[in-house]
Symmetry: C2
DNA sequence: TCAATGTTGATGCAGATGCATTCAGTGGCG
DNA sequence: CGCCACTGAATGCATCTGCATCAACATTGA
């Protein structure tokens, strides 16, 4: 008699949880040891720096990063406190605003990419051939939830952002 | 010229972060909607219920679950508060203790497995053939960090626990 | 025996998170 | 216009987390 979640599916679930946790931890630790802020800051800065005029509505940022609204609000607070971004009024919709990355923000983003990319290479790249990495992508995408994601194509891009 | 973390590796990293986050969220939500406590409680209860006399030293639990010491301490607090486990003195080493699962704890663990297994099936099992699930396991294991894990074999076991 | 060192577990504090609510502004419609 | 529903964003509060530290006991070794 077949079990509801097959042994294989259950094993995959466990691996997914354990391995992600390990790898994320390792990468975050590398960043921290290099004196950088958490990955979430990088993600936000990257999204901002890629946006048309280096600015985004908080609500856009929220969608890009897949984090809750209040979380975005507080993340922006911190970026602004550190002078990495600034809030600007939105003319056309007075309840909204724009968050604009500053030069300091762009600089931090670039510097972080150095440490970040090295960490990805150390904890992922060096353990998997490119072919296997592609296979892994394919399998993970199948779990990608029914939720059609704004599949950002990393292809051709120099830098990358996860979303937690 | 080849980039340090290849495009493929970077894509795999992003998928790993995004997909895990989505799937974990989905499963946790299912559990919560069914009125159950967080997954971590299940993990702890499962480890305890599997242990020889339903008891474990906190330090063992810590190793099994791969969570920091203070986290274990507080998790046990909560389990005890809810009557799911109890702390007992350790005769041979007076600074230590044993945590023993109660009947209520065992019962909750069993009940949770119902919802939990259904969630695994819904969010993982149904999206992957057993063969693909195995392939995924294999690839993820390769990222399994240099840290040799106490590879728990799920095979033959009726229930499963991730570790965050 | 006694000091030094190691291990086990708890805890105070600061910062982060989740949740629900609030507030301001917008757009639709009678 | 005046009312109402909705959207964008902030915030109070309780809980949770990470970090550092502490206290109690154990072990070693002179």
């Amino acid at each position: 008699m077949k079990r509801k979640p097959s042994t294989e599916a259950t094993a995959a679930w466990i691996r997914l949880m354990r391995v992600q946790s390990r790898v994320l931890d390792a990468v975050e630790q590398d960043l921290k040891k290099a004196g950088f802020p958490p990955l979430a800051w990088y993600d936000a800065l990257l999204e901002l720096s890629r946006a048309p005029r280096g600015e985004l509505r908080p609500v856009e940022l929220e969608r890009q990063m897949l984090i809750p609204q209040y979380s975005t609000s507080r993340l922006v607070d911190r970026l602004v406190d550190e002078g990495l971004a600034l809030r600007r009024e939105c003319e056309v919709d007075r309840r909204g605003q724009f968050v604009e990355i500053t030069e300091a923000g762009r600089e931090l983003q670039r510097k972080m990419w150095g440490a970040y990319s090295a960490a990805i290479e150390r904890h992922v790249g060096s353990k998997l051939s490119d072919g296997d990495a592609m296979k892994l992508c394919g399998l993970l995408d199948r779990l990608g939830c029914s939720c059609s994601e704004a599949q950002q194509q990393v292809v051709g891009s120099k830098e990358a952002a996860p979303a937690r």
